[in-house]
Protein backbone atom coordinates (compact mmCIF):
# COMPACT_ATOMS: atom_id res chain seq x y z
CA UNK A 1 0.00 0.00 0.00
CA UNK A 2 1.53 3.28 -1.08
CA UNK A 3 1.73 6.18 1.35
CA UNK A 4 -0.45 8.97 -0.07
CA UNK A 5 1.64 11.88 -1.30
CA UNK A 6 1.02 15.04 0.68
CA UNK A 7 -0.62 17.85 -1.26
CA UNK A 8 1.63 20.89 -1.74
CA UNK A 9 0.75 23.92 0.40
CA UNK A 10 1.90 27.50 0.90
CA UNK A 11 3.52 29.02 4.00
CA UNK A 12 0.35 31.04 4.58
CA UNK A 13 -1.75 27.91 4.49
CA UNK A 14 0.55 26.28 7.03
CA UNK A 15 0.27 29.36 9.32
CA UNK A 16 -3.50 29.28 9.14
CA UNK A 17 -3.73 25.58 9.81
CA UNK A 18 -1.31 25.80 12.74
CA UNK A 19 -3.23 28.73 14.26
CA UNK A 20 -6.55 26.93 13.80
CA UNK A 21 -5.29 23.85 15.60
CA UNK A 22 -4.18 25.98 18.56
CA UNK A 23 -7.85 26.98 19.00
CA UNK A 24 -8.87 23.45 20.03
CA UNK A 25 -10.95 23.68 23.22
CA UNK A 26 -11.41 27.45 23.04
CA UNK A 27 -14.84 28.97 23.33
CA UNK A 28 -15.05 32.70 22.48
CA UNK A 29 -12.72 34.35 20.03
CA UNK A 30 -12.23 38.01 19.13
CA UNK A 31 -11.82 38.05 15.35
CA UNK A 32 -9.81 40.31 13.14
CA UNK A 33 -9.99 40.17 9.39
CA UNK A 34 -7.45 38.41 7.18
CA UNK A 35 -5.43 35.45 8.39
CA UNK A 36 -7.06 35.28 11.86
CA UNK A 37 -10.51 35.27 10.27
CA UNK A 38 -9.63 32.31 8.09
CA UNK A 39 -7.90 30.50 10.97
CA UNK A 40 -10.89 30.96 13.25
CA UNK A 41 -13.34 29.77 10.65
CA UNK A 42 -11.15 26.78 9.88
CA UNK A 43 -11.01 25.91 13.59
CA UNK A 44 -14.79 26.10 13.81
CA UNK A 45 -15.04 23.51 11.02
CA UNK A 46 -12.41 21.23 12.51
CA UNK A 47 -11.06 21.31 16.07
CA UNK A 48 -13.44 23.82 17.73
CA UNK A 49 -17.02 23.50 16.42
CA UNK A 50 -18.44 25.40 19.43
CA UNK A 51 -16.24 28.45 18.92
CA UNK A 52 -18.19 31.72 19.19
CA UNK A 53 -16.96 34.60 17.02
CA UNK A 54 -16.95 38.18 18.26
CA UNK A 55 -16.06 40.83 15.70
CA UNK A 56 -14.53 44.09 16.93
CA UNK A 57 -17.04 46.04 14.81
CA UNK A 58 -19.85 44.94 17.13
CA UNK A 59 -21.05 41.58 15.81
CA UNK A 60 -21.60 38.40 17.78
CA UNK A 61 -22.47 35.08 16.23
CA UNK A 62 -21.71 36.13 12.65
CA UNK A 63 -22.64 33.76 9.86
CA UNK A 64 -21.00 35.35 6.82
CA UNK A 65 -22.28 34.27 3.42
CA UNK A 66 -18.92 35.15 1.84
CA UNK A 67 -15.37 35.76 3.11
CA UNK A 68 -15.57 39.19 4.79
CA UNK A 69 -13.41 41.75 3.00
CA UNK A 70 -13.10 44.03 6.00
CA UNK A 71 -13.72 43.84 9.71
CA UNK A 72 -17.03 45.61 9.11
CA UNK A 73 -18.23 43.83 5.99
CA UNK A 74 -22.07 43.82 5.78
CA UNK A 75 -22.01 40.08 5.29
CA UNK A 76 -21.02 39.59 8.94
CA UNK A 77 -24.15 41.50 10.03
CA UNK A 78 -26.84 39.85 7.95
CA UNK A 79 -27.81 36.65 9.73
CA UNK A 80 -25.72 37.32 12.85
CA UNK A 81 -27.02 36.59 16.33
CA UNK A 82 -26.47 40.07 17.74
CA UNK A 83 -25.19 43.49 16.74
CA UNK A 84 -24.02 45.90 19.44
CA UNK A 85 -22.52 49.37 19.59
CA UNK A 86 -18.75 49.51 19.87
CA UNK A 87 -19.08 50.79 23.42
CA UNK A 88 -20.98 47.66 24.39
CA UNK A 89 -18.65 45.39 22.46
CA UNK A 90 -15.53 46.71 24.14
CA UNK A 91 -17.10 47.32 27.56
CA UNK A 92 -19.39 44.30 28.05
CA UNK A 93 -17.67 41.62 25.96
CA UNK A 94 -13.96 42.45 26.02
CA UNK A 95 -13.42 44.40 29.25
CA UNK A 96 -16.19 42.36 30.86
CA UNK A 97 -14.05 39.24 30.45
CA UNK A 98 -16.05 37.20 27.93
CA UNK A 99 -13.28 36.84 25.36
CA UNK A 100 -11.13 33.72 25.69
CA UNK A 101 -8.76 34.36 22.79
CA UNK A 102 -7.79 37.56 21.01
CA UNK A 103 -5.64 37.53 17.88
CA UNK A 104 -2.98 40.16 17.33
CA UNK A 105 -0.59 40.86 14.50
CA UNK A 106 2.38 43.19 14.81
CA UNK A 107 4.99 45.24 13.02
CA UNK A 108 7.44 44.41 15.82
CA UNK A 109 7.42 41.81 18.57
CA UNK A 110 10.06 41.10 21.20
CA UNK A 111 11.01 37.84 22.89
CA UNK A 112 8.40 38.42 25.61
CA UNK A 113 5.55 38.97 23.15
CA UNK A 114 5.33 42.73 23.68
CA UNK A 115 3.97 44.30 20.53
CA UNK A 116 4.48 47.48 18.51
CA UNK A 117 1.92 48.62 15.95
CA UNK A 118 2.44 52.37 16.41
CA UNK A 119 5.70 53.73 14.95
CA UNK A 120 9.10 52.64 13.67
CA UNK A 121 11.65 55.12 14.98
CA UNK A 122 11.02 58.00 17.32
CA UNK A 123 7.38 58.64 18.25
CA UNK A 124 7.55 62.36 17.48
CA UNK A 125 9.45 61.99 14.19
CA UNK A 126 8.84 58.44 13.03
CA UNK A 127 10.55 56.69 10.15
CA UNK A 128 7.34 54.79 9.52
CA UNK A 129 3.97 55.70 10.95
CA UNK A 130 2.03 52.48 11.61
CA UNK A 131 -1.74 52.20 12.20
CA UNK A 132 -1.60 52.50 16.01
CA UNK A 133 -3.44 50.50 18.62
CA UNK A 134 -6.96 50.18 17.31
CA UNK A 135 -8.35 47.69 19.79
CA UNK A 136 -5.02 45.85 20.21
CA UNK A 137 -3.95 47.35 23.52
CA UNK A 138 -7.27 46.48 25.20
CA UNK A 139 -7.30 43.01 23.63
CA UNK A 140 -3.82 42.35 25.03
CA UNK A 141 -4.97 43.40 28.51
CA UNK A 142 -8.51 42.02 28.67
CA UNK A 143 -8.70 38.90 26.47
CA UNK A 144 -7.99 35.83 28.63
CA UNK A 145 -5.14 34.92 26.29
CA UNK A 146 -3.60 36.29 23.13
CA UNK A 147 -2.56 34.49 19.96
CA UNK A 148 -0.03 36.30 17.79
CA UNK A 149 0.10 35.56 14.06
CA UNK A 150 2.83 37.17 11.96
CA UNK A 151 5.58 36.37 9.50
CA UNK A 152 9.12 36.26 10.82
CA UNK A 153 11.72 38.77 9.67
CA UNK A 154 14.74 40.48 11.19
CA UNK A 155 12.78 43.76 11.04
CA UNK A 156 9.81 42.39 12.95
CA UNK A 157 11.27 39.94 15.51
CA UNK A 158 13.48 42.45 17.32
CA UNK A 159 15.50 42.63 20.51
CA UNK A 160 13.83 45.91 21.48
CA UNK A 161 10.57 47.21 20.07
CA UNK A 162 10.40 50.96 19.29
CA UNK A 163 7.03 51.51 21.02
CA UNK A 164 5.00 49.25 23.27
CA UNK A 165 1.43 49.41 21.92
CA UNK A 166 0.21 46.19 23.50
CA UNK A 167 1.76 44.54 26.53
CA UNK A 168 2.91 40.94 26.39
CA UNK A 169 4.93 39.30 29.13
CA UNK A 170 6.60 42.67 29.86
CA UNK A 171 10.15 41.94 31.08
CA UNK A 172 9.47 38.27 31.86
CA UNK A 173 6.84 35.99 33.34
CA UNK A 174 7.31 36.57 37.07
CA UNK A 175 7.21 40.31 36.72
CA UNK A 176 4.28 40.17 34.27
CA UNK A 177 2.20 37.89 36.48
CA UNK A 178 2.75 40.13 39.50
CA UNK A 179 1.86 43.29 37.61
CA UNK A 180 -1.24 41.75 36.03
CA UNK A 181 -2.42 40.57 39.43
CA UNK A 182 -1.78 43.92 41.09
CA UNK A 183 -3.51 45.86 38.33
CA UNK A 184 -6.42 43.45 38.09
CA UNK A 185 -5.97 42.41 34.47
CA UNK A 186 -8.20 39.62 33.20
CA UNK A 187 -5.67 38.65 30.56
CA UNK A 188 -2.86 36.17 31.10
CA UNK A 189 -1.01 37.52 28.08
CA UNK A 190 0.27 35.84 24.92
CA UNK A 191 0.25 32.06 24.79
CA UNK A 192 1.36 31.33 21.26
CA UNK A 193 3.08 32.94 18.27
CA UNK A 194 2.34 31.26 14.96
CA UNK A 195 4.66 32.29 12.13
CA UNK A 196 5.40 31.18 8.59
CA UNK A 197 8.25 29.08 9.99
CA UNK A 198 6.97 27.54 13.18
CA UNK A 199 5.00 27.62 16.42
CA UNK A 200 6.32 29.39 19.52
CA UNK A 201 4.90 29.01 22.99
CA UNK A 202 5.86 31.02 26.04
CA UNK A 203 8.03 29.34 28.65
CA UNK A 204 7.83 29.72 32.40
CA UNK A 205 10.13 32.72 32.23
CA UNK A 206 7.79 34.44 29.75
CA UNK A 207 10.11 34.15 26.75
CA UNK A 208 8.93 32.57 23.52
CA UNK A 209 10.32 29.16 22.66
CA UNK A 210 10.18 27.45 19.28
CA UNK A 211 8.27 24.23 19.92
CA UNK A 212 7.54 23.20 16.37
CA UNK A 213 9.11 23.84 13.01
CA UNK A 214 6.85 23.84 9.95
CA UNK A 215 7.66 21.19 7.31
CA UNK A 216 10.24 22.61 4.93
CA UNK A 217 11.44 25.34 7.31
CA UNK A 218 14.94 25.19 8.81
CA UNK A 219 16.48 26.37 12.06
CA UNK A 220 18.83 28.46 9.95
CA UNK A 221 15.87 30.33 8.48
CA UNK A 222 14.51 30.80 11.98
CA UNK A 223 17.75 32.32 13.23
CA UNK A 224 18.07 34.58 10.18
CA UNK A 225 14.65 36.08 10.74
CA UNK A 226 14.92 36.93 14.40
CA UNK A 227 16.81 39.66 16.24
CA UNK A 228 17.88 37.69 19.29
CA UNK A 229 19.33 34.27 20.01
CA UNK A 230 16.11 32.25 19.97
CA UNK A 231 15.24 29.57 22.46
CA UNK A 232 14.59 26.24 20.78
CA UNK A 233 12.75 23.39 22.51
CA UNK A 234 14.87 20.35 23.27
CA UNK A 235 12.15 18.17 21.80
CA UNK A 236 11.54 20.40 18.79
CA UNK A 237 8.69 18.93 16.79
CA UNK A 238 7.79 19.19 13.14
CA UNK A 239 4.37 20.67 12.59
CA UNK A 240 2.14 18.09 10.92
CA UNK A 241 1.47 19.25 7.38
CA UNK A 242 -2.00 20.50 6.53
CA UNK A 243 -4.37 17.64 5.85
CA UNK A 244 -6.19 17.40 2.59
CA UNK A 245 -9.41 18.28 4.38
CA UNK A 246 -7.87 21.39 5.96
CA UNK A 247 -6.57 22.50 2.58
CA UNK A 248 -9.91 21.81 0.95
CA UNK A 249 -11.72 23.93 3.53
CA UNK A 250 -9.31 26.84 3.02
CA UNK A 251 -9.24 26.65 -0.76
CA UNK A 252 -12.83 25.79 -1.51
CA UNK A 253 -14.77 27.37 1.33
CA UNK A 254 -12.78 30.00 3.20
CA UNK A 255 -10.59 31.74 0.65
CA UNK A 256 -11.58 30.50 -2.79
CA UNK A 257 -9.94 33.55 -4.38
CA UNK A 258 -6.71 32.91 -2.52
CA UNK A 259 -6.68 36.53 -1.32
CA UNK A 260 -4.98 35.70 1.94
CA UNK A 261 -3.40 32.34 1.32
CA UNK A 262 -1.38 32.60 -1.88
Amino acid sequence: MATPRATAFSQSEMMIVAAARELAGQRVCFVGVGLPNIAVNLAKRTVAPDLELVYEAGVFGARPARLPLSIGDPTIVTGATAVTSMFELFAFYLQGGLIDVGFLGAAQVDRFGNINTTVIGDYDAPTTRLPGSGGACEIAINARQVFIIMRQSARSFVEKIDFRTSPGNLGGADNAARIRREQGWLGRGPSVVVTDLGIWHFGDDGEMRLDSLHPGATLEQVRETIGWEPRIADDLAVTPAPTDEELRLIRVELDPGGAYTK
Binding site: F60, P64, T75, T78, T81, A82, V83, E88, Q95
Partner: protein
Amino acid sequence: MPDNRRVSTSKVATMRDAIADLVRDGNTVAIEGFTHLISFAAGHEIIRQRKRDLTLARLTPDLIYDQMVAGGVARKLIFSWLGNPGVGGLNAIRRRVEAGPVAASGEPALELEEYSHFGMVGRYMAGATNLPFFPLRSYFETDLPRANPLIREIESPYGDGTVYAVPPLKPDVTIIHAQRASAAGDTQVWGLLGCQKEAAFAADRLIVVVEEVVDESIIRADPNRTIIPGLIVDAVVVEPFGAHPSYVQGSYDRDNRFYLDWDPISRDEAATQAWLDEWVYGLAGRAEYVEKLGVERVASLRPGPAPSGVVDYGDYR
Protein backbone atom coordinates in the same frame (compact mmCIF):
# COMPACT_ATOMS: atom_id res chain seq x y z
CA MET B 1 -18.81 30.58 2.11
CA PRO B 2 -21.34 28.00 3.13
CA ASP B 3 -23.28 27.58 6.31
CA ASN B 4 -21.37 28.19 9.49
CA ARG B 5 -23.79 26.62 11.91
CA ARG B 6 -23.16 26.99 15.58
CA VAL B 7 -23.42 23.83 17.61
CA SER B 8 -25.45 25.01 20.55
CA THR B 9 -27.08 22.95 23.18
CA SER B 10 -30.56 24.06 24.16
CA LYS B 11 -30.71 25.89 27.48
CA VAL B 12 -34.46 25.51 27.85
CA ALA B 13 -35.39 24.54 31.41
CA THR B 14 -38.47 24.55 33.63
CA MET B 15 -38.81 27.42 36.06
CA ARG B 16 -38.63 24.95 38.91
CA ASP B 17 -35.30 23.54 37.72
CA ALA B 18 -33.82 26.91 36.81
CA ILE B 19 -34.53 28.40 40.24
CA ALA B 20 -33.51 25.23 42.08
CA ASP B 21 -30.21 24.98 40.20
CA LEU B 22 -29.19 28.60 39.93
CA VAL B 23 -30.55 30.52 42.96
CA ARG B 24 -28.88 29.60 46.24
CA ASP B 25 -29.60 30.74 49.79
CA GLY B 26 -27.60 33.86 50.61
CA ASN B 27 -27.25 34.91 46.97
CA THR B 28 -27.61 38.43 45.61
CA VAL B 29 -30.47 38.24 43.12
CA ALA B 30 -31.61 40.92 40.66
CA ILE B 31 -34.97 40.53 38.97
CA GLU B 32 -34.77 43.54 36.67
CA GLY B 33 -37.24 45.32 34.38
CA PHE B 34 -38.39 48.91 34.81
CA THR B 35 -42.21 48.68 35.05
CA HIS B 36 -42.03 46.46 31.91
CA LEU B 37 -41.12 42.75 31.78
CA ILE B 38 -40.91 42.02 35.50
CA SER B 39 -40.55 38.30 36.10
CA PHE B 40 -43.24 37.74 38.72
CA ALA B 41 -43.16 34.06 37.73
CA ALA B 42 -39.52 33.74 38.86
CA GLY B 43 -40.18 35.70 42.05
CA HIS B 44 -43.05 33.39 42.93
CA GLU B 45 -40.94 30.29 42.29
CA ILE B 46 -38.25 31.66 44.61
CA ILE B 47 -40.92 32.11 47.31
CA ARG B 48 -42.33 28.65 46.59
CA GLN B 49 -38.91 27.03 46.96
CA ARG B 50 -38.46 28.93 50.25
CA LYS B 51 -35.06 30.37 49.39
CA ARG B 52 -33.59 32.29 52.33
CA ASP B 53 -31.27 35.21 53.18
CA LEU B 54 -31.28 36.65 49.69
CA THR B 55 -30.05 40.15 48.96
CA LEU B 56 -32.55 41.50 46.44
CA ALA B 57 -31.31 44.16 44.04
CA ARG B 58 -33.65 46.17 41.81
CA LEU B 59 -34.17 49.84 40.96
CA THR B 60 -37.84 49.69 41.90
CA PRO B 61 -38.63 46.79 44.24
CA ASP B 62 -42.28 46.95 43.10
CA LEU B 63 -44.90 44.39 44.12
CA ILE B 64 -42.71 41.41 43.32
CA TYR B 65 -40.14 42.24 46.02
CA ASP B 66 -42.92 43.17 48.44
CA GLN B 67 -44.27 39.64 47.93
CA MET B 68 -40.83 38.08 48.21
CA VAL B 69 -40.10 39.97 51.41
CA ALA B 70 -43.50 38.86 52.74
CA GLY B 71 -42.51 35.31 51.78
CA GLY B 72 -39.43 35.60 53.96
CA VAL B 73 -36.77 35.10 51.30
CA ALA B 74 -34.88 38.37 51.78
CA ARG B 75 -32.51 39.81 54.34
CA LYS B 76 -31.51 42.93 52.40
CA LEU B 77 -32.64 45.25 49.59
CA ILE B 78 -30.43 47.24 47.23
CA PHE B 79 -32.67 49.76 45.44
CA SER B 80 -33.41 53.32 44.34
CA TRP B 81 -37.20 53.74 44.59
CA LEU B 82 -39.42 51.85 46.96
CA GLY B 83 -43.08 52.00 46.04
CA ASN B 84 -46.16 50.67 44.32
CA PRO B 85 -46.03 52.94 41.26
CA GLY B 86 -49.10 55.14 40.97
CA VAL B 87 -50.67 53.54 44.06
CA GLY B 88 -48.63 54.09 47.22
CA GLY B 89 -46.14 52.32 49.44
CA LEU B 90 -44.91 48.74 49.62
CA ASN B 91 -46.46 47.63 52.83
CA ALA B 92 -44.79 44.30 53.54
CA ILE B 93 -41.40 45.92 53.06
CA ARG B 94 -42.35 48.92 55.19
CA ARG B 95 -43.35 46.61 58.03
CA ARG B 96 -39.88 45.08 57.95
CA VAL B 97 -38.21 48.54 57.81
CA GLU B 98 -40.19 50.82 60.07
CA ALA B 99 -40.31 48.33 62.92
CA GLY B 100 -36.73 49.16 63.84
CA PRO B 101 -34.00 46.62 64.48
CA VAL B 102 -36.34 43.71 65.22
CA ALA B 103 -39.70 43.54 63.51
CA ALA B 104 -42.84 42.73 65.48
CA SER B 105 -42.95 39.35 63.77
CA GLY B 106 -39.63 38.46 65.32
CA GLU B 107 -37.90 38.69 61.97
CA PRO B 108 -34.87 40.96 61.84
CA ALA B 109 -35.36 44.31 60.14
CA LEU B 110 -34.69 44.35 56.44
CA GLU B 111 -31.32 45.86 55.65
CA LEU B 112 -31.50 48.67 53.09
CA GLU B 113 -28.76 49.92 50.76
CA GLU B 114 -30.05 52.77 48.66
CA TYR B 115 -29.00 54.77 45.62
CA SER B 116 -30.72 56.89 43.00
CA HIS B 117 -31.93 55.37 39.71
CA PHE B 118 -28.81 56.44 37.85
CA GLY B 119 -26.67 55.23 40.74
CA MET B 120 -28.20 51.75 40.48
CA VAL B 121 -27.79 51.73 36.69
CA GLY B 122 -24.17 52.86 37.16
CA ARG B 123 -23.59 50.02 39.62
CA TYR B 124 -24.81 47.42 37.10
CA MET B 125 -22.78 49.17 34.38
CA ALA B 126 -19.58 48.94 36.45
CA GLY B 127 -20.39 45.30 37.22
CA ALA B 128 -21.02 44.46 33.57
CA THR B 129 -17.87 46.17 32.32
CA ASN B 130 -15.44 45.11 35.03
CA LEU B 131 -14.80 48.66 36.22
CA PRO B 132 -13.94 49.27 39.90
CA PHE B 133 -16.44 52.17 40.00
CA PHE B 134 -18.77 54.16 37.80
CA PRO B 135 -18.67 57.98 37.89
CA LEU B 136 -21.79 60.15 37.80
CA ARG B 137 -22.99 63.69 38.46
CA SER B 138 -25.51 62.84 41.16
CA TYR B 139 -25.54 63.15 44.98
CA PHE B 140 -23.99 66.63 45.24
CA GLU B 141 -25.21 68.34 48.44
CA THR B 142 -27.55 65.52 49.40
CA ASP B 143 -27.69 63.27 52.47
CA LEU B 144 -27.41 60.12 50.36
CA PRO B 145 -23.60 59.66 50.62
CA ARG B 146 -23.97 59.98 54.39
CA ALA B 147 -26.74 57.35 54.46
CA ASN B 148 -24.74 55.05 52.18
CA PRO B 149 -20.96 55.28 52.56
CA LEU B 150 -20.49 53.25 49.36
CA ILE B 151 -21.35 56.43 47.47
CA ARG B 152 -17.98 58.16 47.29
CA GLU B 153 -16.38 61.24 45.83
CA ILE B 154 -13.82 60.93 43.06
CA GLU B 155 -11.62 63.66 41.68
CA SER B 156 -11.23 64.19 37.96
CA PRO B 157 -7.63 63.61 36.82
CA TYR B 158 -8.04 66.70 34.61
CA GLY B 159 -8.21 69.14 37.49
CA ASP B 160 -11.80 70.11 36.85
CA GLY B 161 -13.45 69.07 40.06
CA THR B 162 -15.09 66.15 41.74
CA VAL B 163 -17.94 63.83 40.85
CA TYR B 164 -19.42 60.86 42.68
CA ALA B 165 -18.76 57.16 42.18
CA VAL B 166 -20.76 54.03 42.85
CA PRO B 167 -19.20 50.56 43.18
CA PRO B 168 -19.86 47.63 40.82
CA LEU B 169 -22.85 45.43 41.50
CA LYS B 170 -22.40 41.84 40.33
CA PRO B 171 -25.47 39.80 41.20
CA ASP B 172 -24.98 36.09 41.72
CA VAL B 173 -28.12 35.66 39.64
CA THR B 174 -29.95 38.07 37.36
CA ILE B 175 -33.41 37.16 36.09
CA ILE B 176 -35.08 38.99 33.23
CA HIS B 177 -38.25 38.50 31.23
CA ALA B 178 -38.29 39.02 27.45
CA GLN B 179 -40.60 38.70 24.50
CA ARG B 180 -38.56 35.95 22.87
CA ALA B 181 -35.31 34.02 22.73
CA SER B 182 -33.83 31.14 20.80
CA ALA B 183 -33.28 27.88 22.66
CA ALA B 184 -29.61 28.89 22.91
CA GLY B 185 -30.63 32.03 24.83
CA ASP B 186 -30.17 34.77 22.24
CA THR B 187 -32.75 37.21 23.55
CA GLN B 188 -34.75 39.99 21.91
CA VAL B 189 -36.71 42.74 23.60
CA TRP B 190 -38.67 45.73 22.35
CA GLY B 191 -40.41 48.47 24.29
CA LEU B 192 -38.81 49.74 27.49
CA LEU B 193 -35.32 48.29 27.96
CA GLY B 194 -34.72 49.40 31.55
CA CYS B 195 -31.30 48.20 32.66
CA GLN B 196 -31.75 44.54 31.81
CA LYS B 197 -28.70 44.40 29.57
CA GLU B 198 -26.41 45.88 32.21
CA ALA B 199 -27.85 43.67 34.98
CA ALA B 200 -27.53 40.60 32.74
CA PHE B 201 -23.89 41.17 31.78
CA ALA B 202 -23.05 41.99 35.41
CA ALA B 203 -24.37 38.68 36.72
CA ASP B 204 -22.54 35.48 37.45
CA ARG B 205 -25.59 33.45 36.36
CA LEU B 206 -28.47 34.55 34.14
CA ILE B 207 -32.01 33.25 33.74
CA VAL B 208 -34.03 34.53 30.80
CA VAL B 209 -37.78 33.97 31.02
CA VAL B 210 -39.64 34.40 27.74
CA GLU B 211 -43.11 34.55 26.32
CA GLU B 212 -41.95 32.19 23.57
CA VAL B 213 -38.91 30.35 22.28
CA VAL B 214 -38.44 31.03 18.60
CA ASP B 215 -36.33 29.47 15.92
CA GLU B 216 -32.82 30.86 15.68
CA SER B 217 -33.64 32.11 12.16
CA ILE B 218 -36.10 34.65 13.60
CA ILE B 219 -33.41 36.05 15.89
CA ARG B 220 -30.86 36.12 13.08
CA ALA B 221 -33.23 37.96 10.75
CA ASP B 222 -32.95 41.06 12.98
CA PRO B 223 -29.66 41.00 14.94
CA ASN B 224 -29.97 44.64 16.08
CA ARG B 225 -32.99 43.58 18.16
CA THR B 226 -30.90 41.16 20.27
CA ILE B 227 -30.05 42.60 23.68
CA ILE B 228 -28.48 39.53 25.24
CA PRO B 229 -26.39 36.80 23.57
CA GLY B 230 -26.92 33.15 24.50
CA LEU B 231 -23.26 33.15 25.52
CA ILE B 232 -24.13 34.62 28.93
CA VAL B 233 -27.44 32.79 29.46
CA ASP B 234 -27.63 29.82 31.83
CA ALA B 235 -31.30 28.94 31.44
CA VAL B 236 -34.16 29.85 29.11
CA VAL B 237 -37.53 29.40 30.78
CA VAL B 238 -40.67 29.54 28.66
CA GLU B 239 -43.41 31.06 30.78
CA PRO B 240 -46.17 32.81 28.84
CA PHE B 241 -47.86 35.55 30.90
CA GLY B 242 -44.93 35.21 33.34
CA ALA B 243 -44.66 38.97 33.80
CA HIS B 244 -48.26 39.46 34.95
CA PRO B 245 -49.37 41.77 36.63
CA SER B 246 -46.64 43.82 34.93
CA TYR B 247 -46.71 43.78 31.16
CA VAL B 248 -45.02 42.68 27.96
CA GLN B 249 -45.00 45.19 25.11
CA GLY B 250 -47.15 43.85 22.30
CA SER B 251 -48.37 40.84 24.30
CA TYR B 252 -50.35 42.12 27.28
CA ASP B 253 -51.10 45.20 29.29
CA ARG B 254 -50.25 46.00 32.87
CA ASP B 255 -53.04 44.63 35.09
CA ASN B 256 -53.56 47.80 37.02
CA ARG B 257 -56.37 46.26 39.04
CA PHE B 258 -53.90 43.99 40.75
CA TYR B 259 -51.59 46.89 41.63
CA LEU B 260 -54.59 48.52 43.32
CA ASP B 261 -55.74 45.27 44.97
CA TRP B 262 -52.30 44.62 46.43
CA ASP B 263 -52.43 47.76 48.56
CA PRO B 264 -55.17 46.62 51.00
CA ILE B 265 -53.94 43.00 50.93
CA SER B 266 -50.41 43.96 51.80
CA ARG B 267 -51.44 46.30 54.61
CA ASP B 268 -52.51 43.25 56.58
CA GLU B 269 -49.98 40.55 57.40
CA ALA B 270 -52.58 37.78 57.61
CA ALA B 271 -54.18 38.79 54.31
CA THR B 272 -50.74 38.93 52.73
CA GLN B 273 -49.89 35.39 53.88
CA ALA B 274 -53.32 34.18 52.75
CA TRP B 275 -52.67 35.67 49.33
CA LEU B 276 -49.29 33.92 49.14
CA ASP B 277 -50.95 30.65 50.16
CA GLU B 278 -53.59 30.99 47.48
CA TRP B 279 -51.51 32.35 44.59
CA VAL B 280 -48.00 31.07 45.24
CA TYR B 281 -47.67 28.13 47.64
CA GLY B 282 -50.99 26.69 46.53
CA LEU B 283 -50.06 26.54 42.87
CA ALA B 284 -47.51 24.37 41.10
CA GLY B 285 -46.36 27.15 38.81
CA ARG B 286 -47.26 29.84 36.33
CA ALA B 287 -49.52 27.69 34.15
CA GLU B 288 -51.84 27.12 37.13
CA TYR B 289 -51.62 30.82 38.00
CA VAL B 290 -52.78 31.80 34.51
CA GLU B 291 -55.57 29.25 34.63
CA LYS B 292 -56.70 30.59 38.00
CA LEU B 293 -56.61 34.14 36.66
CA GLY B 294 -59.16 33.08 34.08
CA VAL B 295 -59.42 33.45 30.34
CA GLU B 296 -61.56 36.56 30.58
CA ARG B 297 -59.07 38.55 32.60
CA VAL B 298 -56.21 37.40 30.40
CA ALA B 299 -58.14 38.31 27.26
CA SER B 300 -58.98 41.76 28.66
CA LEU B 301 -55.27 42.57 28.84
CA ARG B 302 -54.46 41.82 25.19
CA PRO B 303 -53.70 44.91 23.08
CA GLY B 304 -54.63 45.44 19.46
CA PRO B 305 -51.90 45.08 16.82
CA ALA B 306 -49.29 47.77 16.13
CA PRO B 307 -46.73 46.28 13.73
CA SER B 308 -43.17 47.63 13.60
CA GLY B 309 -42.69 47.49 9.86
CA VAL B 310 -39.79 45.68 8.18
CA VAL B 311 -36.25 46.81 7.44
CA ASP B 312 -33.89 45.21 4.96
CA TYR B 313 -30.47 43.96 6.08
CA GLY B 314 -29.47 42.98 2.55
CA ASP B 315 -28.18 39.63 1.41
CA TYR B 316 -24.44 40.02 0.72
CA ARG B 317 -22.76 37.09 -1.03
